[in-house]
């Protein structure tokens, strides 16, 4: 009997161990998601009162899509461009810190992190001053008479940095680049430098060694960095509000306005759901393409 009961205990132990995690997921993920879905399928008889009725109103979804299609497309476009820029900026930086910085590695990592001890908001507001009409960035361009050039290559619009889509994408890139650098750095830092020597030894040029060995081994970091950058960037609207113009609004502010200004909880919930669904599908496709074992296995 004793043996049997201890055996049973042994079988239950794993469930006991995942218990807290499951509870956490149920309480803080499943329940909110279920609530959100219910609201998304509900109607609010009176906008000003908190009550809503579950009427399975799927039209909330189609209404949200047709009304906010431009903002949805814009959010994913801006976030996508910003994420690519984050990779282009973050990868070389992470590579340098991981392999070339030597004893300055900790210092450089610290410097990358330092701006992020300041509030997101204040950093973004600072960019308004930097990019403004009378700010230093445009000042340099004007002094060098380069404004027409930057206009031509699309860096500025009508001689302005601020309040342009470029500024919004730039702000997103700036605000999220650290979330790209750190995971890439971690994945690069784990690569045994001898693997690069081995590739060089096996007749690869430095560029080929990077392409065939370092890059594939750092892809998990790029993947993680992309998620950490793209998802919050797509949902962000501070940058769009502060650095953009009336034509650069992103989905986050629309959800916020639906909820707060129009008290339209069902449509806000439906729009949130659509947004999450697109991101989830996108992440799965991306994981498939990148072949990240941890996610696809």
């Amino acid at each position: 009997m004793a043996g049997e009961s201890s055996l049973r205990k042994g079988r239950k132990a794993p469930y006991a161990l995942i218990g807290p995690g499951m509870l956490w997921l149920i309480l803080f993920f499943l329940v909110p998601m279920w609530t959100l879905l219910r609201i998304a399928l509900s109607e609010k008889p009176n906008a000003f009162l908190p009550d809503y009725e579950l009427t399975w109103r799927w039209a909330n979804f189609s209404d949200a899509i047709s009304r906010f299609q431009p903002e949805l497309i814009r959010s994913f476009t801006y976030a996508g461009v910003a994420t690519i820029l984050c990779i282009l900026i973050g990868y070389p930086l992470a590579y340098f810190v991981a392999f070339k910085a030597g004893r300055f590695r900790a210092l450089l990592l610290g410097l990358i992190m330092v701006p992020f001890f300041t509030s997101f908001l204040i950093r973004t507001i600072a960019w308004q001053t930097i990019l403004g009409q009378d700010g230093p960035a445009l000042g340099v361009l004007k002094a060098l008479s380069l404004v027409s050039v930057t206009d031509a290559i699309g860096l500025t619009s009508n001689g302005a940095f601020l309040n342009t889509p470029q500024a919004v994408i730039g702000g997103l890139t700036y605000n999220f680049v650290a979330f790209m650098i750190l995971p890439i750095y971690v994945s690069l830092e784990k690569i045994d430098p001898r693997l690069m020597e081995a590739a060089r030894d096996l007749y690869s040029t430095p560029a080929a060694a990077f392409r065939k060995v370092v890059l594939p081994l750092s892809l998990p970091g790029v993947f993680a960095g992309t998620l950490l950058t793209f998802i919050p960037a797509a949902g962000d609207y501070i940058n769009a509000e502060l650095l953009g113009n009336v034509k650069t609004g992103m989905i986050g502010s629309q959800i916020s306005k639906l909820f707060l200004k129009e008290s339209n909880y069902p449509e806000a919930a439906a729009l949130s759901f659509i947004f999450m669904a697109i991101i989830t599908v996108g992440v799965l496709v991306y994981a498939k393409i990148l072949g990240t074992e941890e996610l696809s296995a």
């Binding site: 009162l49 509030s119 639906l258 008290s263």
Partner: protein
């Protein structure tokens, strides 16, 4: 009071707006991050607001304690941000009445407060922790219309007589028996003469194509639509839906044409300071606080300007209604009101404040001469409050406006 795009922005921007630059920088330096984020987070988590006020809520006539929810930096305090410091309004009130005041700067945004606090609590028939909260007039009208407030105990408020007359005939509460205004202001136009090359007079100057892409409007529906209605020759106080829609059409077209760069909350101030825009719709109190060296000018358009005010309400079932009444009476004393005005520099709804300031002399007297705080009678005559909208109209108009502002 102002509308803002989101609660996170609220705290930082409100701070910038309400405090003078010097004080803002000092306080921001102490911990800008925490300062900027904390109030937003608190309300986002719903903290104390949602808890019923406790045992003594039965009668609602409590006179020992008082809880106030107000906007940031909207009352006098010492340089460390302490509301209870000796010589402040709150300290004096506590001393004179023996009422213990809990004063919170947790009112960040009308819509946010309504959707996160008022609607889920008062809408469910529960009681708010605060005995006084201070929304903007149109939100106050909505809450009064929903019957979520108590009648004021006017017997305890002899100073009610000091309320400026123009607040007494508002359609949603004639005689001001359910609210008492806290501070007010005007919405007009501001411009940077270095960019415009001259002075603006009319709201329609903002639609002048020579300022294309250099103009910002406010995300606050009533200010932006109201001023545009003045420009169209219609009356914003009438709240005529056709007139409102005509104005919205005009705004929508200007937006599509690229005339209007963006719709903002208080961020327009930075755009003005940085020279990013030539002109905008602006709040009087903000311009009063700008550095005069920038040369930014403000005017109530010749067609007319919007008037707004934030007003004190006592929520349904509030525990300490007597204490709330005594507080209102206290701050409607011209001397006490003058002290608040001196600090916040908005338009006071209390009669006799100008005289009280003049009597004080010095900086206070200079304030009394400031036309943005004490506008002359001609200007006052041109100010109108946006008319009250029915619930359905309000939602329809707001929804349309949201689509326009992007």
């Amino acid at each position: 009071m102002t509308e803002r795009i989101d609660p996170e922005l609220a705290a930082a921007i409100e701070m910038a707006r309400r405090l003078s630059r010097r004080r803002f920088l000092t306080r921001a330096g102490l911990g800008a991050g925490a300062l900027a984020m904390a109030p937003g987070l608190l309300t986002a988590c719903g903290s104390d607001d949602k808890q019923p006020s406790g045992s003594d809520s039965s009668g609602g006539k409590g006179d020992k304690k008082l809880s106030i929810s107000n906007w940031t930096a909207y009352i006098d305090q010492d340089d460390n941000g302490n509301f209870n410091a000796a010589g402040t309004t709150i300290a004096d009130f506590q001393e004179q009445t023996g009422i213990a005041v809990t004063y919170k700067e947790d009112f960040n945004d009308n819509d946010e407060y309504f959707n996160k606090t008022l609607s889920p609590i008062l809408g469910k028939g529960k009681t708010l922790a605060a005995d006084i909260f201070i929304p903007t007039y149109w939100m106050a009208a909505r809450v009064v219309g929903l019957d979520w407030v108590e009648e004021l105990l006017l017997d305890e408020i002899p100073n009610h007589k000091n309320l400026e007359d123009n607040y007494l005939d508002l359609a949603w509460n004639p005689g001001a028996t359910k609210h008492m205004p806290w501070q007010g202001g005007a919405t007009g136009i501001a411009w940077n003469p270095k960019k415009t090359g001259g002075d603006l007079k009319s709201i329609n100057d903002l639609y002048d194509p020579k300022y294309k892409g250099q103009v910002t409007f406010l995300t606050e529906l009533r200010d932006t639509v109201g001023l545009t209605m003045f420009g169209e020759g219609t009356d914003p106080s009438s709240a005529n839906l056709d007139d409102i829609n005509a104005a919205a059409d005009k705004i929508e077209k200007a937006t599509k044409d690229g005339q209007i760069l963006k719709f903002t909350g208080n961020e327009y101030l930075r755009s003005l300071e940085n020279g990013d825009i030539a002109a905008c719709i602006a709040w009087s109190g903000d311009i009063a606080q700008l550095n005069p060296e920038l040369g930014i000018k403000f005017a109530i358009p010749e067609e007319g300007g919007m008037q707004w005010f934030d007003t004190m309400l006592v929520p349904k079932g509030a525990a300490n209604q007597v204490a709330a009444a005594r507080w209102m009476n206290f701050v409607y004393d011209p001397e006490n009101a003058a002290r608040i005005s001196e600090y916040v520099q908005f338009m006071s709804p209390v009669k006799g404040v100008k005289e009280a300031l003049l009597a004080k002399g010095g900086d206070a007297a200079a304030l009394a001469e400031n036309p943005l705080i004490f506008p002359d009678e001609q200007t006052t005559a041109r100010l109108k409050v946006f008319g009250e909208l029915s619930q359905d109209d309000e939602i329809a108009v707001q929804s349309r406006f949201n689509d326009i502002t992007g």
